[in-house]
């Protein structure tokens, strides 16, 4: 916790220093302007989870099934805004995120529980958006990168938006692709020993990538611990949304995603135990099509209360169907201070390939004991506060502060808490 406080305090001081060089100029009259730093946003979160039946240990309970997790996530986004001569607004956003986690289940990648329990993830991003308020059009392009010990991802997206003639409706479409690489780190009992000096006749070793290596007498295996093969996972998604203003107090939207995933869609260190007690590695189809559709409705009730309702229906070709419903009620205590309690209910059916510990048959084509693919329901509730005084918080550049706490419980016995802090500087 001390590290979280120090990190956030340090980032705030750096940002305040960056803005202290000049005062904001009046932008009410239109003038073309080159890109200029407009906003800095820092988001920090701490996540804590207690759970059992980890996928690494094939869904078993007890010490090997420990699935406790902690995650400290920090992200900073710099937004630069400029205006072209056609009154078009250009926004360039550069982001950098850093996560550090501990996961008890990771220890059991090794059969003895001796594997490393912690890891980090770094994810920079770059996004450019162009908006023309007169024409009601918008375009955007984005690039993303994420790297962690066993996973690497490169992503791109492109989107367009068009407002209706009366500016009360807006249609948008976005195409996103991720080209990911999953490192094939298997549970230790499935990793063959490395041959350092072959004293026998020629040995042939077939790796997890299917390639066979020949090791003649007196030679050493070319593979070492760092040379773990990877397998691709590609994601293609098309997201469509339409938003509509109904009256001065009510607006809503509908969002539809079409998602196709191909490649290695499981994780190689997830075990599965068959009914005969024998263990193996999770096996899932190499293709998945997802179809979520969501509806939002926001209503300003009176002068101080807002009702934000959301519902999503999800279906995929692995057999998962889910319903999500949530309600958030921001209450304005004053013009710059609000409190937002919220509740979310979630329920899903199991994937066709899920079975608990030692329930899969050796004749099954696909198998997993990952409880994220089991049938369960979940409740999430909590509250957030938002502070955005017109003259800033402590300093005129410290624009707003949001703090949010959420408590999550699943019928799988997973319980988690997440607390997040969002600071904006302009």
């Amino acid at each position: 916790m001390k590290r979280v406080c120090l990190t956030v305090t340090g980032m705030c001081l750096i940002v305040l220093h960056a803005f202290s060089q000049g005062s904001p100029k009046d932008t009410s009259t239109y003038k073309p302007r080159a890109l200029k730093l407009d906003e800095v946003e820092i988001v920090s979160s701490y996540y804590d989870q207690t759970a059992n039946k980890s996928a690494v240990s094939g869904g078993q309970t007890g010490p090997m099934g420990n699935a406790n997790v902690t995650d400290l996530s920090n992200g900073v986004e710099l937004t630069f805004v400029g205006w072209d001569k056609h009154q078009g607004k250009n926004t360039l956003t550069a982001g950098l995120g850093y996560d550090a986690h501990t996961a008890a289940s990771q220890a059991w990648v090794s059969k003895t529980g001796a594997s490393k329990k912690s890891g980090t993830r770094i994810y920079p991003s770059l996004n450019w958006a162009h908006e023309n308020a007169l024409k009601g059009t918008g375009y955007e392009l984005g690039a993303y990168y994420s790297t962690e010990y066993n996973y690497r991802s490169i992503g791109f997206d492109a989107g367009i938006s068009q407002k209706t003639r009366d500016k009360n409706g807006e249609f948008s479409a976005k195409l996103t692709t991720y080209f990911d690489e999953v490192k094939l780190i298997y549970p230790s009992e499935f990793v063959k020993g490395l041959i350092t000096n072959n004293t026998d006749s020629t040995i042939y070793i077939t790796g997890f990538n299917g390639q066979t290596e020949a090791i003649p007498p007196g030679a050493t295996s070319k593979r070492d611990k760092k040379d773990v093969p990877s397998s691709p996972r590609d994601t293609y998604s098309a997201a469509f949304s339409y938003s509509q203003v109904f009256n001065p107090r009510l607006q809503g939207s509908v969002e539809l995603d079409l998602v196709e995933q191909t490649g290695y869609l499981g994780l190689p260190f997830h075990r599965v135990y068959f009914t005969n007690g024998q263990d193996t590695i999770e096996k899932l189809p190499s293709q998945r099509f997802k179809l979520p559709i969501g509806f939002r409705l926001n209503y300003f009730l009176g002068d101080d209360v807002i009702l934000k309702a959301y519902y999503r229906f999800y279906i995929d070709d692995w057999g998962v169907r889910s319903h999500t419903a949530s309600l958030e009620v921001p209450i304005k205590i004053s013009s710059f201070f609000s409190v937002s309690p919220f509740y979310r209910y979630y329920i899903q059916t199991a994937a066709n390939y899920f079975a608990p510990f030692e329930k899969h048959l050796t004749t099954d084509t696909y198998y997993t004991s990952n409880y994220a693919l089991s049938a369960f329901s979940a409740n999430l509730f909590g509250a957030g506060i938002r502070l955005a005084p017109p003259k800033g918080i402590l300093d005129k550049h410290f624009n707003s502060l949001e703090l949010r706490y959420a408590h999550y419980t699943e019928t799988t016995d997973l319980v988690s808490n997440v607390i997040s802090l969002d600071l904006k500087f302009r």
Partner: protein, 76 residues
């Protein structure tokens, strides 16, 4: 469990009813002060990012919320 299913069904009915009953009326820019309130945005806020990440890791479904639909990290 049965009660929660009923709450879910009633919420859905309320959402469907309100969208059909409330007729659209033209709203001028100067009438949008409430709609332009920062709490009225039709998207998730950045402060919810970790919650959405957690949900996409722990649940079998994702998407239709402006967040990730798969890929980009070790989740599905």
């Amino acid at each position: 469990m049965r009660m929660q299913k009923w709450i879910l069904r009633l919420s859905l009915a309320a959402v469907a009813l309100s969208t059909t009953v409330v007729s659209c009326q033209p709203v001028k820019e100067y009438q949008k002060n409430r709609l332009n309130d920062s709490e009225m945005t039709l998207s998730n806020r950045k402060v919810e990012k970790e919650e959405m990440n957690m949900e996409s890791y722990r649940e079998g479904s994702s998407g239709a919320n402006g967040g990730k639909t798969g890929g980009g990290c070790g989740c599905n």
